[in-house]
């Protein structure tokens, strides 16, 4: 298995991605969308499919879906249809899933990705809305059904067969994740099953323009599994073709333990879902005013923001990419940069020291920003710039600031953390350190210059990090030179 493109064949990949929309309620009833509660707690006659219950479309889901379509530059249909996809399964209470089939609410559009140092445009076939099924739990000899998830709104985002490697597939999914989070239509939280992917893979000799026969990998729910599954399936199909065989159109599952794909069913055994328009729902009409409202809710997207941060704040490509990878992070950074005035200084603090403090406090920025504001970060950095506190003191303060908030100036003043630049006090501290480290002083004087840093460190410790490092270094140099 190779992570690199196959030497003999071109890999052709298309993705069908299902993401949970973060609406308050389900797609066709008023039940709350919520995870982790007691099984079947969030259910009602509609999502239990009791006799006589009817679906009513969640308008918030439509607005979210519109936002996603506009972000992808897709074409929105003025009228679209919800259809029934009929099949029997215990976690599908109605015996059909309401989905969009022949006339989805939008078609076309694209997502721009960066992979292997190049920018590529991945075309979308369509995006449509549908409801999720419940969950079957097999415990011992029993099968149990939890319908809390049944009816959760999903977006299914379908690409053209435009991806050419597992890396590109990964880049596409990460880009999609970041866009959907920017749009605030989905948390795309993989751990909570907000995300599932079906992957179509086919091979063809380099230079061939027709597509090979595809196989579909079903229900992958992590970026890593998707990458591995594509690699495993590429290897399997290459083996078949190398042996002179032909690939059968089929549906596959991927086993992460053995890292192999295996056939679930061949094309001729495919389900007949008997799709037809759901007569309980009228066609969804979307007018220009509604599209305009949705457009107003589409923020600057990650790619544009990345470019702007490079230009406006002079960030490196890498720093701009990291800063804009999350919506919250990008907003926080920009607010701090604006307040402080120098984005390049702020980005260093933000990506290194703030990230470190959050990790140490086991906090996410999303939570910490309630007490720790971008303004506080800007003021903290300014105290360092002005020489009123040392960088070391600022770093010491950060974990407390992200956890409990507070104003840096007030904290510094209350605790007497201002930089120690009183020459007398510094001389005293240096003298004490030199006296305690006579052996080291001798070695330095014998030429081991690097040991000076160790003495610096001791002086800083002695002054609780408050000593002005430039002044300390000058005094040390003078005293070591014997003056």
């Amino acid at each position: 298995m190779s992570a690199h493109p196959h030497p003999d064949y071109e890999v052709v990949i298309g993705l069908e991605t299902h993401v949970h929309m973060k609406t308050r309620t389900k797609l066709f009833c008023g039940c709350e969308v919520k995870y982790g509660d007691e099984p079947n707690h969030h259910t009602c006659p509609t999502c239990l499919a009791l006799p006589g219950a009817l679906p009513v479309l969640n308008e918030q889901a439509v607005d979210f879906a519109l936002r996603a379509a506009l972000a992808a530059g897709a074409e929105i249909r003025p009228s679209s249809i919800f259809a029934r996809k009929n099949y029997f399964y215990p976690d599908l209470p109605k015996g059909y899933q309401i989905s969009q089939y022949e006339e989805p609410y939008c078609t076309g559009g694209s997502v721009e990705i960066e992979a292997n140092g190049a920018t590529r445009r991945v075309r979308l076939t369509r995006i449509h809305m549908e409801e999720d099924a419940g969950k079957s739990v097999h415990a011992g000899g029993d099968s149990l059904v939890d319908l809390n998830r049944a009816g959760t709104p999903l977006l299914e985002i379908v690409t053209e067969p435009d991806l050419r490697s597992a890396e590109e597939a990964g880049a596409y999914l990460r880009t999609l994740q970041s866009i959907l989070r920017y749009l605030d239509v989905s948390d795309v939280d993989l751990e909570h099953g907000h995300f599932r992917c079906d992957v179509n893979v086919s091979l063809r000799p380099h230079g061939e323009t027709r597509y090979g026969t595809r196989a579909e990998l079903k229900n992958l729910n992590s970026f890593r599994f998707i990458k591995e599954a594509i690699e495993a399936e590429t290897a399997r199909q290459a083996d078949v073709l190398d042996a002179g065989g032909t690939v059968q159109q089929c549906t596959l599952r991927y086993d992460p333990k053995t890292r192999t794909t295996s056939v679930m069913r061949l094309k001729e055994d495919a389900h007949d879902y008997r799709y037809f328009p759901d007569p309980d729902l009228i066609p969804l009409a979307i007018d220009e005013a509604r599209i305009a409202r949705a457009r107003a809710a589409v923020p600057e997207l990650p790619a544009a923001r990345r470019a702007r941060f490079q230009q406006e704040y002079g960030l490196s490509a890498e720093d701009a990419a990291t800063t804009t990878s999350s919506w919250t992070g990008s907003v926080f950074f920009e607010a701090a940069a604006k307040e402080h005035g120098d984005g390049r200084t702020v980005v260093k603090w933000f990506l290194r020291d703030v990230a470190h403090a959050l990790k140490e406090q086991q906090l996410e920025l999303e939570d910490a920003q309630r007490q720790f504001t971008a303004g506080a970060l800007a003021r903290l950095i300014r105290l360092v710039d002005q020489g009123r506190i040392t960088a070391a003191v600022a770093r010491e303060l950060l974990p407390e600031l992200v956890r409990s908030g507070g104003d840096p100036e007030t904290l510094v003043a209350a605790r007497g953390l201002e930089t120690l630049s009183d020459a007398g006090a510094l001389e005293q501290a240096v003298d004490a350190v030199l006296a305690e480290n006579a052996a080291m002083v001798a070695r330095i004087r014998a030429g081991e210059d690097k040991l000076v840093n160790a003495l610096m460190g001791q002086v800083m410790r002695r002054t609780q990090g408050k000593a002005d490092p430039g002044a300390v270094r000058a005094i040390l140099a003078r005293k070591l030179a014997g003056r």
Binding site: V56, F88, P279, D280
Partner: protein, 490 residues
């Protein structure tokens, strides 16, 4: 001895207002009659004895306090077994729903309660509303009060029989291909199928969602108007519900048909395959309207001959999907001893559904299957559009269309069971209206061999007021609706 039959709403209201009776007494009489005569007719599948009496007493208290809620306050009514009502068994006359007790009210039930009407029981029906005779019932067939050896029509046969027998003055049913109008004709009562979307389907157990519509049975058009007013109107819980305001139907009953144009579609007056007595009664009824000043105009509905085929393609397709939820997993009947999922499905559904329901699920599954969808379902939808246009064109030339409701008076029990196709063909006059989404009413227009005949009036969308006005005008001029079946006279 049976209690005497209940009168019409104005008669009951007059007796209540005069203090000669009470709601408790009326509801008690209805329950008693439902238990005796109703049992002989197989009209009811469930009676709400205790709850109905308590509700009647509450209505009496309101009457005393001068806080009556509506024209139906304290009046005993019945609903078909496919209306969801909280705390009541809802079985659609099917074994597969055995033991299912609904946790919620259908909108129609909720509105009846708000109007103060007292639901005394649930009426018999063809299983899941599939049939024209109320013979396809897991609870045994219902019978026609005019002749116990004959069917009351269907699928709302229990509701029609209960009104004809004077057990309740008003009952509700559902019409998908004629399930209100046809039993109304067979039992000699008024049966109104409103415009699609006029009455909320929320809580009506679905047979064919694009066709199903709730409507009332009564002995007079005026009572049907009051009954419709109680349940009609927009409901946000049904996406197909119409937003239009509900007119004051009762106020529109002017008795005036002088400026009315009645259309007679020639395709509905072909003599072949129709009882000549039925055609004669319908023609006489049209003449009565003419004598009262209405103009008559012959016209054509050219796609009529496709209506039965289109209906059975669309209705079965939708039914095959609507009935998928009855799978033995969450409620209702579950096969005992099944060890595998597939076996659980197959056995629960095989044991739970009757033959006609299975036949229609199979048909509908076939109609929607890959490779046949375009030839059947899609084509049927296209012809449905043509049928709708037929009516649009016709209503540009007339106000209402008059036709027979059925080809024959009520047939004998068992006469058609062996031949589903001829049973389907007997729906020929009633299936077009639900396909076009338009309202229709059947009113008694005389007798053939002692059995009632129905006149069907069809109108453009939301013309319920016009249909009721014409029906009421006709009833002011005739006495057919006053005749009591021999069974009910006691």
């Amino acid at each position: 001895m049976d209690r005497p039959p209940l009168g019409t709403l104005p008669e009951l209201r007059e007796a209540l207002d005069a203090g000669r009776t009470s709601s408790a007494e009326l509801v008690g009489a209805a329950l008693e009659r439902a238990g005796s005569l109703g049992a002989r007719l197989g009209a009811f599948v469930h009676l709400r004895e205790r709850a109905a009496l308590a509700e009647a007493e509450a209505a009496d208290a309101r009457r005393k306090a001068g806080r009556l809620r509506s024209a139906l306050d304290g009046i005993p009514v019945a609903v078909k077994d496919n209306f969801s009502q909280a705390g009541e068994p809802v079985e659609c006359a099917s074994r597969i729903l055995e033991g299912y007790v609904a946790p919620f009210d259908a909108t129609a039930v909720e509105r009846l309660s708000q109007a103060g009407a007292v639901i005394v029981g649930r009426t018999n029906m063809d299983e899941f509303a599939m049939g024209s005779s109320t013979e396809n019932s897991a609870r045994g067939p219902a019978r026609n009060p005019w002749d116990l050896a004959r069917v009351p029509g269907g699928s709302s046969g229990g509701s029609a029989a209960a009104v004809a027998a004077g057990i309740v003055p008003v009952a509700f049913g559902s019409d998908t291909g004629g399930s209100i109008r046809q039993p109304a004709a067979c039992c000699g009562v008024v049966g109104l199928k409103p415009t699609y979307g006029r009455v909320s389907r929320h809580g009506l157990v679905a047979f064919a969602s694009s066709l199903d519509q709730i409507g009332p049975f009564a002995r007079t058009a005026a009572d049907a108007a009051a009954a419709l007013a109680a349940v009609a109107g927009h409901d946000p819980r049904d996406s197909t519900s119409l937003p239009d305001p509900v007119p004051d139907y009762a106020a529109d009953l002017s008795g005036d048909v002088s400026s009315l144009v009645v259309g007679l579609p020639r395709e509905y007056f072909v003599e072949e395959g129709v009882d000549p007595g039925v055609l004669a009664r319908v023609r006489e009824a049209v003449e009565t309207l003419q004598a009262a000043g209405a103009k008559v105009r012959e016209l054509s509905l050219p796609h009529t001959r496709h209506a039965v085929a289109v209906y059975y393609l669309i209705a079965t397709a939708e039914a095959s999907s609507n009935l998928a939820r009855f799978d033995g997993i969450r409620y209702g009947r579950r096969a005992v001893g099944a060890t595998r999922l597939r076996e659980l499905y197959e056995r629960s559904r095989s044991e739970g559904f009757g033959a006609e329901v299975k036949r229609r699920i199979l048909l509908g599954t076939y109609v929607l299957s890959a490779g046949y969808y375009d030839a059947y379902y899609r084509k049927a939808q296209q012809v449905r559009t043509l049928l709708r246009r037929d009516f649009e064109a016709a209503f540009s030339r007339c106000d209402v269309i008059a036709t027979p409701t059925t080809t024959d008076p009520a047939f004998r029990l068992g006469e058609n069971v062996k031949d589903p196709l001829s049973m389907y063909l007997s729906d020929v006059y009633t299936v077009a209206a639900p396909l076009a989404g338009i309202p229709g009413v059947s009113i008694p227009c005389g007798f053939v061999g002692g059995l009632p005949v129905g006149l069907q009036l069809l109108g453009p969308p939301l013309a319920e007021g016009t249909l009721l006005r014409v029906a009421d005008a006709y009833q002011r001029l005739t006495r057919h609706h006053l005749a009591r079946p021999p069974e009910a006279a006691a």
